[in-house]
């Protein structure tokens, strides 16, 4: 693997302000501990990749930031999770407002069974925007941002389910962008896509990272190396709880890992 050429995309993001922070966070599903004592700081306007073997709690980890784990019965969080320094598990936090600021794109593209237009309009409508002119503006902007406008500008009224997989995923990104979030969580957004569609999404992420804070869970080492600025390597311990092994700038983590386990993983010796 020619890491150095792949890594040419990475930005140095050391100076960026911290957008999200976890401090000694543990997550439990009932009696099962899914995450143990995770502390890290995620810089704003950058792409942070979460990598690690299956079942090590990567998805559970990013779902901390929009409190999607709340939907799971028996899920408990210990420790502190902060957005712009505000603890988001505080009882005074409005989860709906939080999810507006921290959007999420899922593993399997999940466009709603309605038109392209209505998919993107869904969020804004729920947040009280109903003027058609205003909605049209938002939809045009979001689809442009998601690099989907040229593909769908003539079929806004068509069912979103008629789009290709890659287009559907970009539509889901547009749907998130339409509510003007600050953070976009991506849970293996390319795992259901072909390589061409995958590269399109990665380009898109690079563009979006100029404005948004992006966290991406990925199984694909190349993707993490190509597309991210910071990387966090998670692993399972004996009791299957996920722990953070190593976290740092992607270029360092991939060329000069400090932990033996990180090195073994990224060089393909396990996982």
């Amino acid at each position: 693997m020619k890491m150095n050429s792949i890594l040419s995309n990475n930005k140095a993001v050391g100076q960026n302000e911290t957008k999200l922070r976890t401090e000694a966070v543990s997550l439990y599903y009932g009696n099962f501990q899914a995450l143990r004592n995770i502390s890290l700081e995620i810089p704003e306007r950058a792409i942070t990749a979460i990598i690690g073997p299956s079942g090590c709690g990567k998805s559970s980890f990013i779902r901390l930031f929009n409190r999607m784990n709340d939907l799971i019965i028996g899920a408990r969080v210990k420790g502190q999770v902060e957005l712009d320094g505000i603890p988001i598990y505080d009882t005074t936090i409005d989860v709906v407002e939080l999810r507006k600021r921290v959007g999420m794109v899922f593993q399997k593209p999940n466009p709603f069974p309605m038109s392209v237009f209505e998919n993107v309009a869904f969020g804004p409508r729920r947040h009280g925007i109903n003027k058609i002119g205003e909605l049209e503006e938002i939809i045009k902007r979001s689809l442009h941002q998601a690099a989907l406008w040229d593909d769908v500008k003539d079929k806004l009224g068509q069912s979103a389910l008629s789009l290709s997989g890659g287009q559907q995923q970009r539509l889901c990104i547009a749907r998130v962008l339409a509510v003007e979030p600050e953070v976009i969580l991506m849970d293996e957004p390319c795992s259901a896509l072909d390589p061409v569609a995958t590269l399109k999404i990665e380009d898109l992420m690079r563009n979006l990272a100029q404005k948004y804070t992006i966290i991406i869970v990925t199984h694909n080492m190349q993707q993490a190396a190509r597309a991210s600025d910071m990387s966090a390597f998670f692993m399972m311990e004996e009791d299957r709880a996920g722990v953070l092994v190593e976290y740092g700038p992607t270029s360092e983590l991939f060329t000069n890992p400090k932990d033996k386990r990180t090195e073994d993983y990224i060089t393909g010796r396990f996982g």
Partner: protein
């Protein structure tokens, strides 16, 4: 590979398939015979007058319009009460209720609701709606009684239709800051609607066929004119069929079959309607 072993296996396979086919034929034969018999015997009684006139001579002459109208009123009255309640309970049970003893006992109650004999619903309706609430022997009492019986069905079908909406849709909606209620109202319910309506239509067709419960809460054999208000008594097809078949001496046989035919057509057409709604919804989902 030994030829003997294979032929033995094939033999047992053929025997099994033959038995299954025979069983299937036995299952559908009674349905076909009933339907054919009713059509053959009843068709001659069907005429414009039969469908649009009021009965005379204790039902031996004239038509059955009041019974047809009464049955439609009853279906309408049943669904007006059973559908909103059923959908709301279905939403609560799928989307909001926590898994605890309370929810479990509600679920158990709903399952058992479907198993209560219909005459027991009738007696319940008599006690509660007719006597306690003073609605009297009336269309209203009968609709409420049948609605109680239909609830088991509308709750169950609503719940299944809501559960069938993929979790991914809900997550996608919640993840962009929609509230749970907005997610249900704008995403889940529109998706579940065909299933809910199918259940409602089937509940209506079942209400149309019920005889025992309405017997004690407001159905009458012969009434002059059509019901004018929900507090009036009414005629209904199944009860009319029962009386003309069993209690009127000298009743022309073709009239009895004719009433049965009309009832059958009403019930079956609602079942067909339910099937069409379901098929169209499925098609829309695949072609979308």
């Amino acid at each position: 590979m030994r030829a003997g072993a294979i032929s033995k296996r094939q033999l047992s396979q053929r025997t099994a398939f033959s038995l299954l086919i025979i069983a299937t034929i036995i299952v559908i034969v009674p349905v076909l015979v009933i339907v054919l018999q009713i059509i053959i015997n009843g068709a001659s009684a069907i005429s414009w007058e039969f469908l649009t006139q009021e009965p005379s001579q204790a039902g031996k002459a004239g038509g059955i319009l009041p019974a047809i109208v009464g049955t439609f009123y009853l279906m309408l009255g049943t669904i007006v009460f059973a559908l909103p309640l059923g959908v709301m309970a279905g939403i609560y049970l799928t989307e909001y209720a926590k898994e605890n003893w309370f929810t479990r006992s509600i679920n158990l109650a709903i399952i058992n609701l479907a198993g209560v004999p219909s005459i027991v619903y009738g007696l319940f309706g008599l006690g509660v709606f007719v006597l306690l609430f003073h609605f009297g022997m009336s269309l209203l009492s009968a609709s409420l009684t049948l609605a109680c019986q239909a609830l088991a069905m509308t709750v169950t079908t609503s719940r299944e239709a809501i559960l069938a909406v993929p979790r991914e849709y809900r997550e996608g909606s919640l993840a962009i800051g929609a509230t749970r209620w907005q997610t249900i109202r704008h995403l889940v319910l529109p998706q579940a609607l065909p299933g809910i309506i199918t259940g409602a239509v089937l509940a209506m067709s079942r209400a149309a066929g019920e005889t025992a419960p309405i017997l004690v809460v407001g159905a009458a054999f012969l009434l002059p004119g059509l019901p004018q208000s929900p507090f009036d008594q009414f005629m209904a097809l199944p009860y009319h069929l029962y009386t003309v078949a069993a209690h009127v001496p000298g009743m022309p046989k073709s009239t009895v079959w004719g009433v049965a035919l009309v009832l059958l057509v009403v019930v079956l057409s609602f079942n067909v309607l339910a099937t069409i709604i379901r098929l169209r919804a499925r098609q829309r989902r695949f072609n979308a």
